[in-house]
């Protein structure tokens, strides 16, 4: 009923559609890279998160190591809490003393979380991020996003507001 040529053309059509889907998945949405590996959770409390959003990246020296999963307000302390997941490739890499700060890529760019690895006391058994399974591990040393209005205020009225 259907000639070989028709079947060939339909086959090419379907292959083309599959190639388009593959391209959209890998190249455009980056599905294969982000969702593949295992992750571990950490949280951090900030005074001000600025324009940080869920899915913003976590970078160490510019290298993306994880993503922000959730941002919410702590009910008791009324300060923002940022939940993050870091790729398990970097398990037992960053000491507990690491610090996180909210930075901006370029002048108008998106905001991201910059992670600065901390130090390990010599002779001590170090605790790394992701070591405590089952409970939320908080990064203590955090620096908030820079709000332009605060900066201008400090500039105008001296450093006393700090």
């Amino acid at each position: 009923m259907t000639s070989k040529k028709t079947e060939l053309m339909v086959g090419i059509f379907v292959a083309l559609a599959l190639a388009a889907t593959l391209m959209l998945a890998l190249q455009v949405a980056n599905k294969g890279m982000s969702g593949s590996g295992e992750v571990y959770q950490v949280s951090a409390k900030f005074d001000n998160i600025g324009g940080l959003k869920a899915r913003s990246s976590i970078k160490v020296g510019g290298v993306v190591v994880g993503r922000v999963t959730r941002i919410y307000l702590d009910n008791q302390e009324l300060i923002p809490v940022v939940d993050m997941e870091i790729s398990a490739d970097y398990a037992r890499t960053f000491p507990e003393t690491s610090s996180v700060s909210i930075l901006t890529a370029g002048l108008l760019g998106e905001q991201y979380v910059g992670l600065t690895p901390g130090f390990v006391f010599p002779g001590e058994d170090p605790i790394y991020l992701g070591d405590k399974e089952g409970e939320t591990q908080f990064i203590v040393d955090t620096k908030s996003a820079i709000v332009l209005e605060d900066l201008i205020g400090q500039f105008l009225f001296g450093k006393d507001s700090d």
Partner: protein
């Protein structure tokens, strides 16, 4: 009194048309699982999908290129030309891919389906099939219906992919946006479930509407040359309007309310 009679008659006519269309759709849906119909569907995918490929590829490429050009001239004045990638990708995946594919599909394939079935009816081929105890819904309508519903999401995906490549061609290769930022900011922004899958769902819904309208208009066409031409026109007009209206509803449901 006359206008009341007219109102009643036209309401009844509309309702029975809707009923007939639903019955036909039901026939098309139920008639799918027959294994021996698969070759018929492949034949129709060739007619409906493969033969629409050229217009989809060309228009996708040019729409992507135009969007990159327009977007660049605006974004560069804010120094934000790195955001060209996500702009092109999100516009194509969320809106233009499904909608423009739907409109082109209605013009290219929908009108052809209506004319073909209308002519089959005018030349009494459908009646002869019934005389030979072959159900025209199973034999003629169902393969075309499923071929359209299968083809159009694939065409929309191809449209979006080609459009993004076209945007790359103009934005990166011609205007000099950094290739790394074109792709990486796109990857950071575009979400698989929210953007790509929702776009596919949209084009699936549009395909249902376009093919349904096209087949019903052909099936119920007045079997004269004038009637077929009217039915073909109505197919393009109705399905285009339905696509644009449904697109707003679907967008509101998918992206509007958080």
């Amino acid at each position: 009194m006359n206008w009341l009679i007219n109102l009643g008659a036209s309401t009844l006519g509309k309702l029975s048309g809707l009923g007939n269309a639903s019955l036909m759709l039901w026939g098309g849906l139920v008639a799918f699982p027959r294994l021996k119909n698969i070759p018929l569907i492949i034949q129709q995918i060739y007619v409906v999908g493969v033969q629409s490929l050229l217009i989809i590829l060309v228009s996708g490429l040019f729409i992507g290129m135009v969007m990159a050009l327009q977007g660049y001239t605006i974004l560069v004045s804010y120094g934000a030309e790195g955001s060209l990638g996500p702009m092109v990708a999100l516009t194509l995946l969320r809106e233009l891919g499904p909608v423009v594919t739907g409109l082109l599909f209605a013009g290219r394939a929908g009108s052809a389906l209506t004319a073909e079935i209308g002519l089959m009816k005018a030349t009494e081929q459908l009646s002869s099939l019934e005389m030979m105890a072959v159900d025209p819904l199973r034999r003629i309508i169902a393969p075309r219906f499923w071929a359209g519903v299968i083809s159009m999401p694939m065409l929309a995906l191809i449209f979006s992919a080609v459009g993004i490549l076209g945007g790359h061609l103009v934005g990166v290769d011609w205007l000099g946006v950094d290739s790394g930022s074109y792709w990486s900011i796109m990857q950071a922004t575009v979400d698989w479930d929210k953007d790509v899958v929702n776009g596919v769902i949209k084009s699936f819904v549009f395909a249902l509407v376009v093919v349904w309208v096209a087949l019903y208009k052909g099936y119920s066409a007045i079997p004269t040359s004038e009637g077929i031409s009217k039915a073909t026109t109505e197919t393009v007009v109705f399905s285009s309007l339905a696509i644009l209206g449904l697109d707003f509803v679907l967008t509101a449901l998918m992206f509007g309310i958080n």
